[in-house]
């Protein structure tokens, strides 16, 4: 199939504006600016059916429509490039290999929503990405795609890179905004939503890197064309970072709705040493686990929700028969304990309790009642303040439900069966 999002990444010096322009870059932006009104752009994106690629899957066109309708000035356009979840590395490809696609997407979005200033909130651990983005932005300024009265129009847009300081919570859009304001990165109460009261309490659009990389394609080829790619109710190409026990880990661009089985066994080459597949986390570290019987599910928002898990960032994590599921769940919940901001009780205390219970079980000191406690703590954590806490328990709760036998083996055997000693 034709590469869309990754169309430029194989080219030499793909991060420079010359290469990008040669490949037809900034044509979509010029088309939007010269031939379309902001309303037309919003309509086109709505028509495309594009849904946010950050994890929540909110329709992008709708978000833009809300922001465009707000009368407060100035408005801000923020790109969420705080890609911090374990095993998620899809945005990095775009940031490092095709930064101009991101900038072009932001320009079109800013034009459509009337934003004057833009920020790329970049993950603190992407120093190379920062250099590449800053270089790309200065190139775009030189070519007149950024700045005041862009290409002789009334549209002005300034773009800056803002580096995070390493907190995963700052990928949550309101925490990201707090962090940009120089405060402690913690989620805000919603409503009001950022589109109405975001950065400095002004209307702020927050879009994911991959979402924005889709925008030039939609404008250039039309929303109708885009809406016919992949699953009908959430169309488009999607980047799937595949990691774990597969033969060819990496980022794969495939249409939405590609079967999980196909991704693992055809594109990623199957399981290492042709072992048996044991479990898959289909949507990043905070998704519920799928067993080897469940992998025929199409990878899109509604299908995965129906299967009791979620697409999230689309990061696929594969475990094989030699992996201990308790240890895997423990590693993931430890990550969330470390990254919980501590604002709300369920996430702050729940993650710690889960870690302590799982550590005990993995160390062979668990009791059977622990499993019941784990499930009830998971239920309490559903009432967390933000998405981090609401999803953090998923890898633990789902593994306890689906791999109960393995947990019981730890408890009854008094040790982890996957360890030799």
């Amino acid at each position: 199939m034709e590469k869309l999002l990754l169309r430029n990444v194989e080219k030499e010096n793909s991060h420079t504006i010359e290469v990008y322009l040669k490949g037809g870059g900034y044509r979509a932006f010029q088309k939007a600016l010269k031939e379309m009104s902001p309303e037309d752009v919003v309509e086109e994106v709505k028509l495309s059916g594009l849904r946010g690629r950050g994890g929540a899957g909110f329709p992008t066109g709708l978000k833009w429509e809300f922001a465009a309708a707000d009368i407060k000035e100035p408005k801000f356009f923020v790109c969420n490039a705080d890609e911090g979840e374990p095993c998620t590395f899809k945005d990095r490809v775009i940031i490092e290999k095709d930064p101009h696609a991101l900038i072009e997407g932001m320009l079109i979005g800013a034009y459509a929503t009337g934003c004057r200033y833009g920020y790329i909130y970049l993950r603190g651990e992407y120093p190379i990405g920062r250099k590449i983005l800053e270089r790309a932005i200065s190139e775009a300024y030189q070519k007149g795609f950024l700045g005041e009265n862009i290409l002789g129009s009334d549209f002005s847009f300034d773009l800056y890179v803002h580096s995070g300081a390493g907190a995963y919570i700052c990928g949550e859009e309101t925490a990201l905004i707090e962090s940009m304001e120089g405060k402690r990165g913690e989620p805000r109460i919603k409503p009001p939503f950022p589109v109405n009261a975001g950065y400095l309490w002004k209307p702020t659009v927050v879009n994911n890197v991959e979402t924005l990389a889709n925008i030039p394609l939609i404008i250039e080829r039309g929303g109708k064309w885009y809406s016919q790619i992949g699953s009908p109710d959430c169309p488009g190409p999607k980047l799937f970072p595949v990691s774990g026990k597969v033969k060819r880990p990496g980022v794969y661009e495939l249409p939405m709705g590609t079967k999980l089985e196909e991704i693992i066994f055809e594109h990623a080459g199957g399981i290492v040493k042709d072992r048996k597949l044991k479990a898959v986390f289909p949507g990043g570290a905070s998704s519920s686990v799928l067993t080897s019987e469940e992998i025929s599910v199409p990878m899109d928002f509604p299908s995965l929700a129906k299967a009791g898990t979620m697409l999230g960032s689309g990061a696929i994590m594969v475990l094989d028969e030699t992996d201990c599921i308790v240890n895997a769940a423990l590693r993931l919940i430890k990550f969330f304990r470390h990254e919980s901001c501590g604002k709300c009780t369920p996430c702050r205390e729940g993650t710690d309790w889960l870690v302590r219970i799982l550590e005990r079980i993995e160390g062979g000191r668990g009791v059977e009642e622990d499993l019941e406690v784990v499930l009830s703590v998971c239920e309490t954590m559903e009432n967390s303040f933000c998405g981090l806490g609401m999803a953090a328990h998923n890898p633990v709760g789902s593994t306890v439900r689906k791999f109960k036998e393995e947990y019981l083996a730890h408890i009854k055997g008094g040790k982890c069966p996957f360890r030799s000693s």
């Binding site: 470390h338 009830s376 009432n383």
Partner: protein, 726 residues
């Protein structure tokens, strides 16, 4: 405002736009447990205990953040809600220390009560308790993070309501803890208002003066009025067996106009009652020394000495109205008082309004724009400054301030006009015209823009801080009253002392030089503190009524001990009408008791008349090359607390002379000269002091400062001075 109905637990409740479900439930007697929510604070949604079920919503929602919508159906006591609540409380309790027997909060702890009512009945926690052994001790406040439930009330109180931003969270997740900036309260800029301690639901933020002192459930709780400044705050005094253990404000519960907010003096100054300098028996001069005598003897001498003689009366203004009435009855109506400057301000106002009085403070709440005139309101009457701040952030009032020095209030003010002190009256006059005439141009853009924001709005005026002590107080009074009168707006003149209004009402206040009596009578005052720059007139006999061994005691012929504010019953005439004092403390001495034995002079009361002039005031301050000096008693140094409270002394400021950083490059010792008097003092450059002004911050009025100010009473501000090399 239009209301609508929502249904909570089957009960139809009235709600208004902007109400949260929790507020509606509270009004209707439906209790929803919660920790992070506090009536006076912005909702946070952090503790997740106030979860409720809303029809149509898939998830449980926190009632504290959920805005009521018409026809909403809410359930607060379903099995699902109860289980979720107990689950969250279980998480809080898992690692909570079991220090209840020695925790100061025990008995009034919200975690105890909520845990009892809504918590799980059995622990499932098999892990070792996670200790958070981080105790941060300040001079008066202590944070015990092991007891903290991270509800963040203290942070919002300190940062948003008080505007200090001393407290914050360090670290992340389960390791998060509360700390002042840099771990140091004083360095962090803590004002020790005690509000964080007041709102802490558990025993994490502690009052160090109360720590391990008593149990909340067995103390006598008495509501009274603080007598330490003109704010007239309602406070709760907790005592056991007649001994005061602590003072609390009870923010959100307190029904006084201060809403429970206190300052360092009110919260921690109570220990002056137990000061070592407290006078316990009457003293009578015999030759060169003072000897102890009994009450009968003291009264006998007093009666004999007063018989047929005219009295030089020196009055401090935190006496109760009952005491003041009796004092006038016994000693006559002529007095020198520390409210003299305030009297001048009121006289200026009365020349426009006809009444020596002030509007009620609460009148600002029915206006849209509050015009504040004066500097250092947060030092003279700290709680008034807090209430002005809250009027902005809670009630959405616009605050406009005119003054000379920057203030903490400026961070919430809509606009701030800072002009040199000698231009205050001229600025007001520009506003008098500009506020009513849109074509008027003052030649100063800032003044014009302030005039524009006053135009056509419902206004109220507040005058306070250093204005009563300004050389121009009477003229400023006239001018601002003229403006308020034209706008038809209330004018609140903040009294500097608790009962200044009553003193002004009852007494003919005179210049000290007008006293020609034969007997000096000093009541509750300290000469240097209350009358800086005034010498005791020579007289045949000097009698001092005082609670403490004051420096004047050595000059006295007779000294009679009296009680302190917290030991009195009675009333004050305050900015919110009559304020009452109550006490369960017993003292062996009482001012009223002594006065009872003295013969009445039978002075009949008559309303004071001030001639109506209806003209704005005239500029008094003219200067050439001199600096204008303001002597500012620090927040901790404004009152007897800085002299006699061991608590407050721990956080007291220091004496320093602040000068504009362009006029003084680096700190050095200088000589401050007023007329022909000089004072050696450490001068410090400070960018916030405007050019041409000098600010002398003092912790105590000592003899040297008093002599520097000789002849200036009652003024502390706008005094011409020079700075010489030391």
């Amino acid at each position: 405002m239009e209301s609508f109905k929502i249904v909570i637990d089957g009960k139809e409740c009235e709600a208004f736009a902007g109400d949260t479900v929790l507020e509606v439930a509270e009004r209707n007697g439906i209790v929803i447990p919660v920790f992070c929510y506090h009536k006076e604070l912005r909702p946070e949604g952090a503790c997740r205990v106030c979860l409720v079920e809303v029809e149509g919503a898939p998830r449980l929602v926190t009632a504290c953040t959920l805005k009521a919508m018409p026809d909403m159906v809410v359930k607060t006591n379903t099995e699902r809600v109860k289980r979720a609540r107990a689950g969250v409380i279980e998480l809080i309790l898992n690692n909570h220390t079991l220090e209840c027997p020695i925790c100061d909060k025990s008995g009034e702890c919200e975690l105890q009560m909520t845990g009892f009512r809504n918590g799980p009945k059995k622990s499932r926690y098999r892990e070792k308790r996670r200790e958070k052994d981080i105790v941060i001790k300040g001079p008066l406040i202590e944070i015990d993070n092991d007891r903290c439930i991270l509800c963040r009330r203290c942070i919002r109180m300190c940062g948003e309501n008080m505007g200090n931003r001393v407290l914050g969270i360090l670290n992340r997740g389960y390791k998060a803890y509360i700390s002042p900036f840099n771990g140091d309260f004083l360095e962090g800029g803590c004002e020790h208002c005690g509000s964080c301690v007041d709102v802490c639901p558990v025993g994490s933020l502690l009052d160090r003066a109360f720590k391990y002192k008593d149990r909340p459930w067995r103390m006598d709780k008495t509501w009274t009025t603080c007598s330490l400044c003109g704010s007239g705050c309602t406070i709760e005094v907790d005592s056991y067996h007649g001994k005061v253990k602590r003072v609390v404000g009870r923010i959100g519960v307190n029904r006084g106009h201060n809403k429970g907010y206190l300052c360092v003096r009110g919260k921690w100054g109570w220990d002056i009652i137990y000061s070592e300098k407290r006078l316990k028996e009457p003293l009578l001069r015999q030759g060169d020394s003072l000897v102890k005598v009994d009450f009968e003897k003291a009264v006998e001498v007093l009666k004999e000495k007063l018989e047929g003689r005219e009295v030089n009366l020196f009055l401090e203004s935190s006496l109760t109205s009952e005491e003041l009435t009796k004092i006038r009855d016994v000693f006559g109506g002529k007095a020198v008082s520390d409210s003299y400057g305030y009297y001048k301000l009121l006289r200026g106002i009365a020349s426009i309004t006809g009444a020596l009085n002030t509007s009620l403070f609460s009148s600002i709440y029915s206006s849209d724009v509050v015009f504040v005139l004066g500097d250092f309101i947060e030092e003279f009457t700290p709680v008034i400054a807090t209430l002005l701040r809250l009027a902005v952030i809670q009630k959405g009032k616009r605050l406009i301030r005119l003054g000379t020095f920057p203030s903490k209030l400026d961070s919430v003010s809509f606009s701030t006009l800072l002009v040199p002190q000698e231009e205050i009256i001229d600025t007001l006059k520009h506003l008098i015209v500009g506020t009513f005439d849109s074509s008027y141009q003052s030649g100063n853009k800032e003044i014009d823009s302030v005039a524009k924001s006053l135009r056509g709005k419902k206004l109220s005026f507040v005058v306070g801080g250093n204005v009563p002590f300004s050389v121009e107080s009477e003229e400023i009074g006239k001018t601002v009253a003229f403006l308020a009168d034209r706008a038809g707006a209330p004018l609140v003149a903040i009294p500097p002392k608790a009962n200044s209004l009553k003193v002004v009402e009852l007494f003919d206040l005179v210049e000290p030089s007008n006293l020609k009596g034969e007997v000096n009578v000093l009541i509750n005052c300290e000469l240097e503190r209350d009358f800086p720059g005034v010498e005791l007139p020579s007289a045949d006999f000097t009698v001092i009524f005082t609670p403490f061994y004051t420096p004047e005691v050595s000059q006295a012929d007779l000294v009679i001990p009296i009680e302190l504010g917290l030991e009195k019953r009675g009333t004050f005439k305050g900015i919110e009408g009559e304020l009452s004092l109550d006490s369960v403390l017993e003292t062996p001495f009482s001012l009223l008791e002594v006065l009872k034995y003295l013969p009445s002079k039978g002075i009949s009361s008559k309303e004071k008349q001030v001639p109506l002039i209806k003209e704005p005031g005239k500029k008094v301050l003219h200067r050439k090359r001199e600096l204008l000096l303001t002597v500012l008693p620090n927040r901790t140094g404004w009152n007897s607390v800085s002299y006699y409270s061991e608590n407050v002394v721990k956080v007291s400021g220091k004496r320093e002379l602040l000068l504009n950083s362009q006029e003084l490059r680096e700190p050095k010792l200088v000589s401050l000269r007023v007329e022909n008097k000089e004072l050696q003092v450490q001068a410090v450059p400070d960018a916030s002091v405007p050019k041409g002004h000098a600010l002398l911050r003092v912790e105590r009025f000592t003899r040297d400062i008093s002599s520097l100010l000789r002849g200036n009473f009652p003024f502390l501000s706008g005094i011409k001075c020079e700075i010489l090399e030391a």
